[in-house]
């Protein structure tokens, strides 16, 4: 389905990542944002507060805290709209219970985390990338989510639309993991015409009330959706539930439900993985990175190649589900892996696990607050190269 032109600001703009995220949401059909101000994500909602009165059917409300924001968007989704909320590290921690609720009730919504230095209040105005594991494991219980990471304002615009599409396709909350650098850098963003933007519509059921079971999956393990007010008179609960949505307190239903929630993403993972590879085929060392760090890594690769080390780049666009088979393949072919990220090891552990000991994996990380020093990455490349030989 094509995007609704009333939300698309076609043209060439010079805007920052936060604004691009807001424009991407509007282009994807998002018409409800409940937010709470937190640096460095506030600009997303400030832009939406300005744009919403002028876009048909769009509404912005600044809620009293992140807990309210993260569940108000779920109310809006069940009333039929596409909804998104925006936060940073401390707010992301608050939203965890409701991310679990969205995963359990299979509510399609987008949570944007513009990461900053942590832990706790940390560095509000400086970047970090230390929420990546929290995006995957933050809430209690077994569930799977999808997480994306852009590295430029243009990609922020494109990937926000992709985030909404993935959330509708798989009926899952999607974590959009930006960082403060990408959020606050201003670059050219080209927004195409509305008929060039592909938007996945919500998979509403066509079955009549009485026949439709809200949590009975289709072949791809994703059930069809309904919305309140259409006459279905159904019950949605965060308790373990059966196909009808009724609470069922027994291990069999728990097994069946959790098995499906987890496999919904795991079995469909090959369709969801997205990464960009540059110069990987002939490389001896591959840098695995994402977000703003990937832009620094490109520079480091140039320097390393001039020094004679053959280095390639694997940039993760979809971070969760993690592309384990590709990492394993690279490791099996004897390539050393350097994970460059702005933390003390988060995606590093995934890469290390996926390599299964076939190749050395080295972390080029630091505590956050600034992008990497190029020399530090080059040193780690050299270290990995030595480990390899």
């Amino acid at each position: 389905m094509k995007a609704d032109p009333r939300g698309v600001l076609t043209g060439s703009h010079f805007i920052d990542g936060d604004f691009a995220c807001c424009e991407g949401a509007l282009a994807a059909g998002c018409r409800f944002i409940a937010g709470y101000p937190i640096t460095p994500s506030t600009e997303v909602v400030e832009r939406f507060a300005r744009r919403a009165p002028m876009v048909d059917g769009a509404l912005f409300i600044q809620m009293e805290d992140e807990l309210a924001a993260s569940i108000a968007i779920q109310g809006a989704v069940w009333a039929g709209k596409k909804a998104m909320t925006v936060t940073s590290g401390p707010g992301f921690s608050l939203m965890m219970e409701h991310i679990g609720l969205a995963a359990m009730t299979e509510t399609p919504c987008v949570f944007v985390d513009v990461q900053r230095g942590g832990p706790s209040t940390g560095l509000p105005t400086l970047p970090g990338q230390a929420d990546m594991m929290q995006a995957r494991w933050g809430s209690h219980g077994d569930y799977e989510i999808i997480a994306l990471s852009p590295n430029s304002p243009q990609e922020t615009f494109d990937l926000t639309i992709e985030a909404f599409n993935l959330s509708e396709q798989y009926r899952v909350p999607v974590m959009f993991m930006m960082d403060e650098c990408v959020g606050h850098m201003m670059e050219r963003v080209i927004i195409p015409a509305a008929d060039k933007i592909e938007v996945t519509p919500r998979r509403f059921t066509k079955l009549p009330p009485g026949e439709y079971l809200p949590f009975k999956p289709a072949e791809d393990l994703v059930p069809e959706m309904f919305k309140a007010g259409d006459g279905y008179r159904l019950h949605v609960t965060g308790l373990t539930h059966d196909f009808r949505g009724y609470p069922a307190m027994n291990p069999e239903v728990q097994e069946q439900l959790v098995h499906r929630l987890v496999n919904k993403i795991r079995l469909n993972a090959p369709k969801i993985w997205r990464y960009e590879e540059t110069g990987v085929e002939d490389a001896d060392v591959v840098i695995v990175t994402y977000g703003i760090t990937s832009r620094v890594a490109v520079e480091a690769i140039d320097i390393a190649r001039k020094k004679g080390i053959k280095v390639g780049l694997l940039r993760l666009v979809v971070v969760w589900p993690f592309p384990e088979p590709r990492i394993f393949e690279l490791a099996s072919r004897g390539k050393a892996l350097v994970v460059a990220e702005m933390n003390y090891g988060q995606v590093f552990y995934e890469v290390d696990r996926s390599a299964r000991g076939k190749a050395p994996v080295v972390l080029a990380g630091h505590g956050g607050g600034t992008v990497h020093n190029i020399e530090d990455i080059v040193k780690k490349i050299e270290e990995a190269h030595q480990c390899r030989s």
Binding site: G57, A68, Y246
Partner: protein
């Protein structure tokens, strides 16, 4: 395979094979495949659901537009038993969920049905902000003075001196006066009734649901298994007799005097019934003034 078994079991009528009539006029409104409900004998929550069913019938709203949202707790289970679109959300967060539902589709009639601990303790912040904004929802708070589902812990509404599992030597904290709180944060309709006052409760629910804006009804209900048993006040029937003697309906009731003490008289009645623009009315009026003809009125 066991899911199929469960579905098959559920499709049998709960009263199949028994003699005598097996249908009640309100059965169409209830999820009969989940009956009997989990509430104890002489609990007041069932009475309120009964009054709610009657109130919906009196209001005449199309049931397809009615949505019930509840939190966690004994009262939170109401959402699972009424046959309308219903949502059983997280603890304390029924009100912001209802806000999202109502603002995304203003045609829905959203009712929040939850307990005292859920609405005013963990959900206190959401309660006062939704009332401040005057979101057009109706909040029915069933006050049994404790956290019943988890075994009877002291709550923000527990009267002084009450003995509960986390106040084993008596409660020394000061409880909320819910009508006073609701009035001070701007609710446009505030009433308190008990489980005994069924006609008043029903009429209050009708008035609250028809009134645009944030309406709040507190229903003082017996909790025979926990609260009344710990205070040695008998069972629900004894408590209803107590309500009969000790509740005072005042025509010009002031919320400031509506404190509840363990052994004193309790004031019930309609406290507040005023007019205030709702959130969406205020938003549309304001944007029309500021942005002129460019602004298209938000209708959902």
């Amino acid at each position: 395979m066991s899911i199929l078994n469960e579905l098959q079991k559920a499709s049998l009528s709960p009263t199949a094979g028994l003699t005598g009539p097996d249908k009640h006029p309100m059965d169409d409104f209830l999820r009969m495949d989940r009956m009997p409900h989990i509430w104890c004998s002489t609990c007041g929550i069932g009475v309120s659901v009964n009054c709610f069913a009657k109130a919906l019938e009196k209001c005449g709203f199309p049931l397809d537009d009615v949505v019930v949202v509840s939190g966690i707790g004994c009262t939170g289970r109401v959402a699972g038993y009424v046959k309308v679109d219903s949502f059983h959300t997280t603890h304390g967060r029924a009100i912001p969920f209802a806000t999202g539902l109502k603002l995304a589709n203003p045609k829905l009639k959203v009712i929040v049905f939850s307990g005292d601990g859920d609405i005013i303790a963990i959900g206190g912040n959401h309660f006062i902000n939704a009332a401040r904004r005057n979101i057009d929802i109706t909040v029915i708070c069933i006050n049994n003075f404790n956290y019943a589902m988890t075994g009877g812990q002291v709550a923000a509404t527990t009267p002084e001196g009450a003995i509960l599992s986390t106040s084993p030597f008596g409660n020394f904290e000061f409880p909320f006066n819910l009508p006073f709180l609701a009035e001070s944060v701007g609710a446009v309709y505030v009433a308190r009734w008990t489980s005994l006052h069924v006609y008043n409760q029903t009429n209050a629910m009708v008035e609250a649901m028809k009134k645009p804006g944030f309406s709040f009804i507190e229903i003082v209900a017996p909790c025979p298994t926990i609260f009344e048993r710990q205070q040695k006040m008998g069972d629900g029937l004894d408590r209803l007799r107590w309500y009969c003697e000790n509740s005072e309906i005042r025509a010009d009731a002031k919320t400031k005097e509506a404190d509840i003490r363990l052994h004193d008289k309790m004031i019930v009645g309609k406290f507040v019934d005023k007019e205030r623009p709702t959130y969406l009315e205020a938003m549309n009026t304001h944007y029309q003034e500021r942005l002129g003809p460019k602004y298209k009125v938000y209708e959902g």
